[in-house]
Structures are given as C-alpha cells and as structure tokens.
Symmetry: C7
Subunit: 100 residues, 7 copies
Amino acid sequence: MSTKHRIIPLGDRVLVRVAKVETKTKSGIIIPDTAGKERPEQGVVVEVGAGRTTDQGVVITPKVRPGDTVVFSKYGPDEIKIDGEEFYILSESNILAVIK
Amino acid sequence: MSTKHRIIPLGDRVLVRVAKVETKTKSGIIIPDTAGKERPEQGVVVEVGAGRTTDQGVVITPKVRPGDTVVFSKYGPDEIKIDGEEFYILSESNILAVIK
Amino acid sequence: MSTKHRIIPLGDRVLVRVAKVETKTKSGIIIPDTAGKERPEQGVVVEVGAGRTTDQGVVITPKVRPGDTVVFSKYGPDEIKIDGEEFYILSESNILAVIK
Amino acid sequence: MSTKHRIIPLGDRVLVRVAKVETKTKSGIIIPDTAGKERPEQGVVVEVGAGRTTDQGVVITPKVRPGDTVVFSKYGPDEIKIDGEEFYILSESNILAVIK
Amino acid sequence: MSTKHRIIPLGDRVLVRVAKVETKTKSGIIIPDTAGKERPEQGVVVEVGAGRTTDQGVVITPKVRPGDTVVFSKYGPDEIKIDGEEFYILSESNILAVIK
Amino acid sequence: MSTKHRIIPLGDRVLVRVAKVETKTKSGIIIPDTAGKERPEQGVVVEVGAGRTTDQGVVITPKVRPGDTVVFSKYGPDEIKIDGEEFYILSESNILAVIK
Amino acid sequence: MSTKHRIIPLGDRVLVRVAKVETKTKSGIIIPDTAGKERPEQGVVVEVGAGRTTDQGVVITPKVRPGDTVVFSKYGPDEIKIDGEEFYILSESNILAVIK
C-alpha cells in the first residue's frame, strides 16, 4: 500500500483496492454485466483484519490474504478515498471468490 | 473449468455453470415451469468453497462436488461472466438437490 | 421413484410427490379447505436429504421416510417437474404431520 | 381420535381438536372476548409430536399431553379437516396454558 | 385463584390478574400516564409456568412468584376471561418489575 | 428511593430517575442537542435487576450500580410515575455510558 | 479527555471525538466523499468500554485503544456534547478500521 498511512481493518473486514475498468477487461476474464447494478465487482485485497471474535470467544481468521484478487458483492461496502484513490472496506462475508 | 483463471469460491459458496436450455430439455427430466419466475434452475458445479466457519469454530464442508448437476433456487445468486460464459456464485444453502 | 434420474435433496430438504385431488378425497380423510389458499397440502415423500448440519457440527437427520404420506405447509416449497409430473422440494420444517 | 387414520405431528407440533362454542361456554370458565379477533382459542390436544431437535442436538419434548384442554394463540395454526371435523396443527410454543 | 378451574401457563408464561383502576390509584404509588397508550400496566401474578427450555436443554425458571404485584408491558399479552374477570397470559420477559 | 414502595426491575432492566433539565445543564457537562429527538438522555440509576439469564443458563449481572449517572438511548424505555415523579425502566443494553 | 467529567462507555461501546474537517484534509489521507451521506467518518477514540458479555459469559474486549484514529460508519452512533464539543458513542462493531 503505497501511502504514508496504513489502514488496519477491524474484525472480519478487508480493505480492497477497487479494480479499474481496464484491469477488469484486459485479460477478458471477469466481465461483470454492466447492465445489472447489483452484479459483483472485482478488486485486490490490500489489508486484512485480525478476524471477528464470536460469542463463544473464537477468533475466525479471514481466509483472504493481501494481494488476492477478489470478486465481491457490491452491496454494503463502505467507500473511502486515500490520496485520491478509491478503496472499499467490506466484511469478508461479502467476498464471493478469489481469482487465481 | 476450461479457462486460464480459476475462481475459488469463499466459505460455503459454490461456482455453478448455468445449464443451457437445450441441456435441460434433452433428456426430458427436469423442466422447471417457465411461467413461474421463481422456479428453481439447473446447473453444474464447477468449484466448491472450503466451507463456512461457524461461530463455534466448526468448518461445515459443502456436500456438493465439482461435476454434480444441481437444482438451485434462483433467488439470490451472484452472476459473473468468464470468457463470455455465464456462471453463478451461490451459497450451498440455495442448492435444493443433486441430480444423479 | 420411477424415473431414470434420481433427485437427492440437500440438507433437511425432502422431495415430495404432490397428491392428486382424487387421492386426497377418496378415503375422505384429509380435505384441506379449498377456500383458504394457505391451507396445508398433502403428498408422499419420495427422497429425503441427509439432514442439515448445525453450527455446532451436529447433523439433524430428518424424521420422515420415503413412502410417508405427509401434510405440509404450502408456503415456500420449490416446484420442479420430472417427466411431466409435479414434485415439491421443501424443508422438513415445513412438514406438519405424517398420516399413518 | 375416532378416525381410521392417525395424524402424527412432526417436531414440536401438536394436533388440537377445536372446542365447539357450547363446550367453551357451558361451565362458564373460559370466555374469550369474541369482539377481539386475535383473542386465544380453546381446544383439546389429540396428538403430540416427538419434540423439536435443537441445533445442539437436544430434543425438547413437548409438555402437553393428549387429552389436555389448552388455550392457544389463534395466530399461525394450520387447519385441516378430518372426516369433516376441524383440527389445528400448531407449534407447542403457541399454546399459552393448560386448563386443569 | 378462586375459580373451579386452574390455568397452568406453559413455558415462561405467567397468568396475571389485571389490577383494577381503584387498586392502582389508592396508594398513589404507580400511576401510568393514561395519555400514552403504550405505557406499562399493573397486575398480580396468579400462576407461573415451569419455565422455558432453551436450545441447550436448560430450563429457565421464572423469577416472579404467585402473589407478586408486577408492572408489565402492555404490548403482546393474550387476554382471557375466567368467570367474567379479565386475566392476561404473558411471557415473563414482558414483566418489567416487581413492586415490593 | 424515597418512596414507600420499592420497584425491583426484572432481568437486565434498570430503574432510572430522569434527570431534570436544570441538573443536566448546571455543570455544563452533558447537553444533548435538543433539536434531535433521538439524542440520548441522562438520568440516575435507582434500582438494578439481578441480570438476564441466557439460553446457556448464564446470569449476566448488570454493570451499572444504583447511584450511577448514566446516558441512555431514548428509544424504547417504559415510563412509569411513582408519587408523581417520572422514572424509566429500561434494559441495561440501552445505557450508553456512565458519567464519573 | 480534558473535561472535569469522564464518560465511561458501557459494553462494546466507544467514545469518539469527531475529527474536525481541517484535521481530515491536512495530510490528505482520508477524504470521505462528501457527496455520499452514508460515507464513513473519522475520529479519535477517547474512552473504551470494558467489552460486551456474550450469552456464553465470555467478555469480548474491544480491540481499539484510546488515542486510536478510527474510521467508522456514520449509521447509528449516538451523539452527545461535552463542554460544547461533539462526541459520538458507538459500538465497536461500527468501527471499520484504525489508521496508523
């Protein structure tokens, strides 16, 4: 993360750099249907929270890792801008899949 | 999955290749009533997540396997396109049955 | 199940062959009030899922068995057609009673 | 239960024979206010399910017994007719009290 | 309870004799604001259920006792009449406080 | 509590004497924005329930003590009057903070 | 906290001093999109509750510490003013990330 500050997500949250449109289309792999507003979106994981602590006191460590390219549900993420670049903070439960 | 990339679903999610209409009708087995929009749909499982981790720390491994032909509830799945082909990412809990 | 394919319900789901109207009335036993759309319906269990796995990792085996005549809530079941015959896939929790 | 068939409720459900109006009023004990549609109703338990199985795998045996006269919430029960007589199938959680 | 019949509430339910208006005001202690329809009401506990059984199989015994004067939320109780007198059957969770 | 009667809250409930306006402003400490109707309110704890019993049979003892000055969410409390003075009965979960 | 009084949040709640606009922009790090009303907001943690007690009797200690700069969801926090300065009391679950 090439910024002076570091954003550490809390719990099961993940900081995701939103993929630019040209990134999404260049290899032709994932092309979410742009007509459907609720179609999932693609990005790269930048930071991962330590995991949520359940009522039983169990810490559920997130499965995604920084650098993972992920597809996530557009519903619900919080958007922030860092040095003019858009990021999402979203719960790992909103990440649908990792692209390898 | 004959693509250059692999989509690994997270948690209890499953990647399903949507059955083409001709596939559904050729053996005459499953014909969802086309009049009802909420009737279940048919597809083939391509990738399966590692399972969801419950609050007790138990990992519930999905029961479906890649290659399974499944009937699933159309309600809720996320749609993505890979090399122009439509796939669904859906929770295993939305899969109603396996066809053997 | 006299079809070439077998439908294996997932989790706590049950495949039910919907009772024909003449079956319901011939012994005069169960006559759901036809005026009320939400009255329960009758059918015969064809296939039973292996049971749902709870968050504690416990598998709850369904109590109904193939061949059981059941009364079920019409709310919620998914309908599929197999060789032109209508079936329901429904959660065992929507089955109200077994008729012996 | 003077019928040729037996209705075995599933889980925590209970089969209740709805009390006739003259039964309710003859001893003058329970007279639900007829003006309020949501007032509780009275009946006699005919059959009792084996109990619901919780996520922990515990079976919660119903407390009511066949023959118990019960007051139950009218909200939610499923109605069936057996040989022309009206019965309710309802969850034990909708039974408010037993009349002794 | 000076009636020929006894009403035994089920689970965490409690049978409460509704306080008459003169009872409420004579000692001047509790005067719910009559303008607010959702203000709590006062009564005397007559019968107490054996307690609810939780999913863990634990029975939670109610804390109130017959004879307790209680303040309860008017939201949700079921009303019944016994020999012309009005009673409420309500969950102990709707009882706000005991007046000593 | 300078009354002839004592109000013992049940479960996790707390009896709170609502702070008069002059009390709130005299030390200038807490001034909820009066424009916002849903802003929190201030009061003094008078009585505390024994705690709620969870489904696991654990009693969660309230953390607040009689005499604590508290800030609480105005949403949801039940209001009662004792000898003409207004009190709130509210769940401890609606208490936001203690002022020391 | 340079006030005569101390506000101790209850449970998993956190007292946050809302960041002034000039603070947010001077290092250019976090600039929530001001067009979106539901965009997250920034502040500094002043006081932290002892943690919430779960139904299992486990106390979940908050991860944030006094002095942490945090980004939090604007949805839901209670606002109070102390000596004319605006503070939020919010659940730690509404804190999205810590800025280091």
